[in-house]
């Protein structure tokens, strides 16, 4: 105590020379117009089109809106667009887009067809180097038809452009021309940037002239960067912040018991996509792959590693709610006897070892998950050798289809199985490692999914692909990793599917 008292005196004397004052105490508690959020990842830039980084969405998703976006059920709805874009009847590489009237960016620039054209050209410009260029697939340009109508063109017919468009958040052409756009983002959204003190916090202020609904009720949101998860929760418990993102797994149980807080689980998170090379022996035998699935006790694994927080994968790569999820599929139950039975029917060479490529510090508790999987496989009599490369060599391994089995988790940025199909199952996909026979079976189905303009046909075909991926055990199915946030109990918010970070602050309410 004496130490603290001495310190307090010493520090009070020299505490006046601080620079930016981002860390004042006192969160929102009771004040329904102010919210303080604690998050682990700080954005590196606020230019939402530049980079794909963990910290970006939380701050900028409410500054820059999209032409379209998902609603709470995962359906696409028009936001800045007046209606969902329609594909041209004659030429399937052209989409007609009608824009909402009377919207302005917060710097006064009108939101119109010219603005949309600017945005499209910005992200496909190779000099600018936007990470969205890849995600927006083959978007090749935009033509102004009149003030509120613009035609988007794609390189090849792409019926899924609407899903992808959600990632294109619109920035003000005037502001984007300035060099410091990354620190001064401007959009049409319900919030604008207040101040950003790097390393400490950033503030969002409600846009009083917001065109949409609901109007934001929280006047000011302070986003504080607190990298240590325990400190974040301490800050929540001491009342300094109102929302804490990504709590430590071990504390969730305790937080759920706290009546002053509520724990929010966001559906549609990442899915386990540990993939096989189905060309190599014995991975080419479906019984072998199925055996590896039967051998793992997914429930116990989730229970032990994550306090049972995450749902077990139901033999689907797409989580429930995401397009392409097949409700009829059931998870491979834990059945080591069945696994051994299947293995006895497979032609396994003598001295065979599973070369399992894991990862180190890429996903939460990844080593633990992988070691658990390996130990279940050893329990049914297989030899397993696991490596745990760090991010650099791990990414090399992911992109190397020659490797027999590589651990993976995949996100739902497009809210559709098409993402994983494109990555893992499509011929010549960046990570695809299917043998010729398996690939040939999927080829016509994938072509239908990519080419058809009929939504129902696409959905049905995706579910068929999901069924095949399950029956053929192209993946080792584990669990769906959900985003978790902890909020003060008096906060009302219903999260969209996918990530908490893509939060709609204007839909959040604090009950006084």
């Amino acid at each position: 105590m004496a130490v603290v008292a001495v310190l307090a005196l010493v520090v009070a004397a020299c505490g006046g020379d601080d620079a930016a004052g981002g860390g004042g105490s006192g969160g929102g508690g009771g004040d329904s117009s102010r919210l303080v959020v604690g998050t682990d990842a700080e954005p590196t830039t606020l230019d939402i089109q530049a980079i794909d980084d963990n910290g970006l969405a939380l701050s900028t998703w409410s500054i820059n809106e999209g032409l379209v976006d998902f609603d709470a059920e995962g359906n696409i709805e028009p936001i800045l667009a007046a209606e969902l874009p329609v594909i041209d009847e004659a030429d399937p590489t052209v989409w007609h887009l009608k824009l909402r009237e009377g919207i302005e960016f917060t710097d006064g620039t009108p939101f119109d067809a010219e603005a949309v054209k600017y945005n499209v050209e910005r992200i496909i410009d190779p000099d600018y180097g936007s990470v969205l260029a890849e995600e927006l697939g083959g978007l090749s340009g935009a033509t102004v038809v009149d003030e509120l109508n613009v035609d988007l063109t794609t390189e090849n017919p792409d019926p899924l452009l609407i899903n992808r468009l959600r990632r294109l958040r619109i920035v003000s052409p005037t502001a984007a021309e300035t060099e410091t756009y990354g620190e001064n983002p401007v959009g049409t959204g319900p919030y604008v940037l207040g101040e950003w003190t790097r390393g400490q916090s950033l503030t969002l202020e409600a846009n009083a002239d917001y065109w949409g609904d609901p109007k934001p009720t929280i006047e000011e949101i302070e986003i504080r960067f607190i990298p240590d998860a325990n400190t974040r929760i301490s800050a929540l418990q001491s009342g300094e912040i109102n929302v804490a993102v990504n709590p430590p797994d071990s504390q969730i149980g305790e937080l759920q018991e706290d009546s002053a807080l509520k724990v929010l689980f966001v559906e549609g998170g990442e899915s386990g996509t540990t993939r096989f090379n189905t060309e190599l022996e014995p991975y080419d035998d479906v019984k072998f792959r199925q055996a590896l699935n039967y051998a793992i006790d997914k429930d116990t694994m989730v229970e032990q590693l994550f306090n049972g927080l995450y749902p077990v994968q139901d033999c689907n790569v797409a989580p429930p709610g995401v397009q392409g999820h097949n409700d009829d599929l059931e998870a491979y139950p834990y059945d080591p006897d069945k696994a051994e039975e299947l293995l006895s029917e497979v032609d396994i060479p003598d001295g065979f070892t599973i070369d399992f490529t894991g990862s180190s510090a890429v996903y939460g508790s990844d080593r633990e998950i992988q070691e658990t999987m390996a130990s279940y496989w050893r329990a049914v009599g297989l030899e397993v050798e696991t490596t745990f490369p760090e991010i650099d060599p791990y990414l090399d391994a992911v992109y190397n289809p020659e490797l027999p089995i590589v651990y993976g988790e995949s996100d739902q940025a497009l809210n559709s199985l098409i993402r994983q199909i494109g990555t893992f199952l499509e011929r010549d996909g960046p990570v695809t490692a299917l043998g010729e026979e398996d690939q040939a079976e999927l080829d016509p189905l994938i072509e239908t999914v990519k080419g058809t303009l009929d939504d129902d046909e696409r959905d049905a075909t995706m579910q068929e692909i999901a069924q095949i991926a399950c029956d053929e055990a192209y993946f080792v199915f584990t669990f769906f990793r959900q985003d978790i946030a902890v909020l003060d109990a008096d906060i009302e918010y219903e999260s969209d599917l996918g990530q908490f970070e893509k939060v709609d602050w204007h839909r959040m309410r604090i009950n006084g």
Partner: protein, 306 residues
């Protein structure tokens, strides 16, 4: 003295150059920043485009020449991820780092040097034993645990101090105590052993025989002689903390210092930012060491500086 300082400065510049060049080659050969920046599943085309726009597709020798030309003008380039001049980003963090390291070191010295001296006067006595225990505690306790405990006690339970962040004197209290306890433990130990060493020297006995009061012996002779190892350690502690050792404290308390920036740069493989961080830190460490050498001379004029 002036010649000495100039010589050391030149030598320091050489060291910084060597460090910078090493980091340049290591990062470009051993890591692939492009891959880390792209979402998994990106095409080769996207990779090539990004690589070209970052200037990483040129042959290594060519990149090196451009690099040397730039850093001579102190232009480290723009951080890959933040797209702002890297050097500015690092310099932004200096005040906060200085505050933390400064407060932590001052605390460590102000609290633990006197304790070390007092303990050394009666080795084996009660005070000595208490001090040794406290030092051991400070040195062994993991900082993330210590920090979390202090937060739990003083912020969450008692509500006296904020849990994290910076900006006011209150925010500085817990992080600097955490930092001070660790280095303070070492400072106390060195002080104690250095003092004991001096107190056992013949000159002390001589002075006592001549009738000089104990207090005068202590303040005018023993302390000055004992200071050299303490100055060495203090310089080392400061340099070590500036070089990023404070990162644990910075992370636990969300303190916006250089350590956290370095970690961010490494995780994101932002080699431009990393280069700037290494450069700035190396300069600070060199500066601290030069100052320490100058202090030796002030403390003990017999020391020959080479």
């Amino acid at each position: 003295m002036i010649r000495f300082i100039i010589r050391r400065l030149l030598f320091g510049v050489l060291i910084m150059l060597a460090v910078t060049i090493t980091v340049f080659f290591v990062t470009r050969v051993l890591t692939d920043p492009v891959k880390v920046m792209l979402p998994v599943g990106s095409s080769q085309e996207a990779y090539d485009q990004l690589e070209a726009s970052l200037g990483l597709d040129a042959p290594l020798g060519e990149q090196f020449v451009t690099f040397i030309g730039d850093i001579v003008r102190l232009d480290f380039g723009d951080s890959y991820w933040q797209r702002l001049p890297a050097l500015d980003l690092v310099l932004e963090r200096i005040p906060a780092t200085f505050q933390l390291v400064g407060a932590g070191t001052v605390l460590a010295i102000v609290l633990f040097v006197p304790l070390g001296i007092i303990a050394s006067l009666k080795p084996g006595g009660i005070l000595d034993r208490i001090l040794v225990t406290i030092s051991l505690f400070g040195v062994s306790m993991p900082q993330f645990w210590l920090g979390a405990m202090l937060i739990f006690i003083f912020s969450v339970s008692l509500g006296w101090l904020p849990t994290s962040g910076s900006g006011t004197g209150q925010h500085l209290v817990l992080p600097s105590i955490t930092l001070a306890l660790a280095s303070g433990g070492r400072v106390a130990q060195i002080t104690r052993s250095s003092m004991i060493d001096q107190l056992n020297r013949p000159y002390v006995t001589t002075l006592k025989a001549k009738g000089m009061p104990s207090r005068r012996i202590l303040t005018h002779h023993v302390l000055r002689n004992a200071l050299v190892p303490i100055v060495t350690l203090a310089a080392y502690e400061i340099a070590y903390a500036l070089a990023g050792y404070a990162v644990i404290v910075e992370t636990v308390f969300a303190w916006p210092g250089i350590g956290r920036l370095a970690i961010q740069a490494v995780t994101q493989r932002d080699i431009i930012l990393l280069q700037a961080v290494v450069f700035v830190v190396a300069s600070l460490v060199v500066a601290v060491n030069i100052i320490a050498d100058v202090l030796y001379k002030a403390v003990d004029p017999r020391v020959k500086l080479t």
